[in-house]
Amino acid sequence: MKYTQGQYPIIEKKTLAKEMYSFVILCPEVAEMASPGQFVHIRIGSFTLRRPISICEIDKVKGTLRIVFEVRGKGTAEIAALNKGDLIDMLAPLGHGFTVNPDAKKVILIGGGIGTPPMLPLAQIYGEKATVITGFRSANAVILQEDFKKTGAETILCTDDGTMGIGGFVTQPFETLVNLGDIDAVYACGPMPMLRGIAALAKANNVPLCEVSLEERMACGVGACLGCACKVKRNDEEYFLHVCKNGPVFNAEEVVW
């Protein structure tokens, strides 16, 4: 894992929905090293701990990264107050990302709420081979639909309250698709109950690869402090790995739910 720390200019800022922001950051050396599923760890002036935010787009030619995040508290509010031209202090790119299977013919990408952004780099790689299922609370929280359509992927939108797309959770259209068979890989990021449901369905349908991106309260971001523990099972033994270094992406079969 290669990473660096620096201050990089924000070259574009957009508001995507209520309390949902998109930054494009000019950071050629980070973009060069970054891969889908990794994250950046952002320093905020008045806090001891950085904030981990997943990478939403990687443009190695332009040397940019895009991040999309939701204001959840005072720390993310402070990040959201930054503007175009401001410098952002990042430790990046961090973590173990998604495994891309170049031979895959059909993959499903599933994003729940603010778990949606890390699915975009995968959609850009898989294009028409991908079906993207995204779910949000309500129509006013829906993000990134045009970005996903541009990749050539098929998109299925769900809202919990039925105000846009299919009413209900992402697990329903996923179940229908996965039951049809021939799925080479499933990738998901979102709330734990959603990930648990997807992992169970993928396993029941013998999908060869199911990867999930997890979240945990984090300190160092590089695997030194052992703060962000996640219980996994390997060779019938349960132990703790760390979301920042061994993850955030884990094989769903290994996660102890």
């Binding site: 894992m1 290669k2 990473y3 660096t4 720390q5 320093r43 806090f47 001891t48 701990l49 950085r50 720390g75 430790l91 945990e216 309260r217 984090m218 300190a219 160092c220 971001g221 590089v222 695997g223 030194a224 402090c225 052992l226 703060g227 962000c228 523990a229 996640c230 219980k231 132990y239 703790f240 270094k245």
Partner: protein, 303 residues
């Protein structure tokens, strides 16, 4: 350029700054940023007799000007440390303090005896971890148990022995004196202060362990006070720590009586913190016309 070298219990440090145990792993993750030889020393992740899995998540919570942790001494055990990590660390041209802990004095002594056969430079005995049920802080909060575990480890090793004290006590000077009389060569202090945060919406503690250790800038004045009181009560040297994030913070701990300084939570905010602190200490000494950092140790002029 001021002389930044210090000596603690006969061990020479090229500068006084040491990443504290628990924040720096075994150094591998931070070598991506700078050569470890720039550090005065490294206090390694606390190691016990056998593998420990640690506490359930969440293990981390933010606090005003600091953070709580309840990692719970997750480590691969002393044999793996000696075999897989220590040889690499000993090539880094910096002082290695092997931080050790255990549930019983016998476990601590056994770990120390294994390290005694290695080329590690110092042993830092943790009698103050607030995050494990047995051992840890249980040793560090009474004079008799602090003395007993120190004496047991002292018998097991002739390496320079640093004992890391808990601030969660009524009188830290009494514990310090007990540890000194049991044969410690130096003290390191302060470990984290026991704290707690509650999510007011769920009414659940943020930490799965309910409580955890507070570190970060919030605890700096507690560290200054305890180091000052302890330096006046014992004659062995002190490695100070607690909320240091700038060169002047480190100088402040040294003026209170510390001979070297560990840096913890500041590394999470800025991985370059230890390197910047060394540079800032040098700048301060140059600006003040002080030739050696040793000349500031214990020089506070109390009212």
């Amino acid at each position: 350029m001021a002389d930044l070298s210090v000596n603690v219990a006969g061990v020479e440090f090229k500068n006084p700054i040491i990443p504290a145990s628990g924040v720096f792993g075994y150094g591998r993750e931070y070598e991506e940023f700078y050569p470890l030889s720039k550090l005065g020393g490294i206090a390694t992740k606390g190691t016990t007799g056998t593998l420990r899995t640690g506490n359930l998540s969440p293990r981390i919570a933010e606090t005003p000007a600091g953070m709580l942790n309840s990692v719970g001494l997750q480590n691969p055990g002393i044999d793996t440390f000696i075999e897989k990590e220590l040889p690499n660390l000993l090539t880094k041209d910096t002082v290695i303090l092997a931080n050790i802990a255990g549930s019983t004095p016998e476990e601590c002594a056994e770990v120390a005896a294994k390290l005694d056969k290695t080329d590690v430079h110092m042993i830092e005995l943790n009698i103050s971890c607030p995050n494990v049920k047995q051992g840890g802080a249980a040793f560090g909060t009474s004079c008799t148990s602090a003395e007993a575990v120190t004496a047991a480890v002292r018998k097991a090793t002739s390496k320079p022995l640093v004992v890391k004290l808990s601030p969660n006590v009524t009188s830290i000077t009494e514990i310090a004196k007990a540890v000194e009389s049991a044969g410690a060569d130096a003290l390191s202090m302060i470990n984290t202060l026991l704290g707690m945060r509650i999510d007011v919406r769920t009414r659940r503690p943020i930490l799965r362990n309910n409580v955890g250790g507070l570190s970060g800038p919030a605890i700096l004045p507690v560290a200054v006070r305890m180091i000052w009181q302890t330096a006046n009560a014992v004659s062995i040297p002190i490695i100070g720590m607690g909320g240091v994030s700038t060169g002047e913070d480190a100088i402040e701990l040294m003026m209170a009586g510390a001979s070297a300084v560990q840096v913890g939570a500041a590394i999470f905010t800025d991985p370059y913190a230890p390197i910047k602190i060394v540079d800032e200490m040098n700048d301060f000494l140059d600006a003040q016309g002080i030739a050696s950092v040793r000349d500031v140790i214990g020089t506070v002029q109390p009212w």
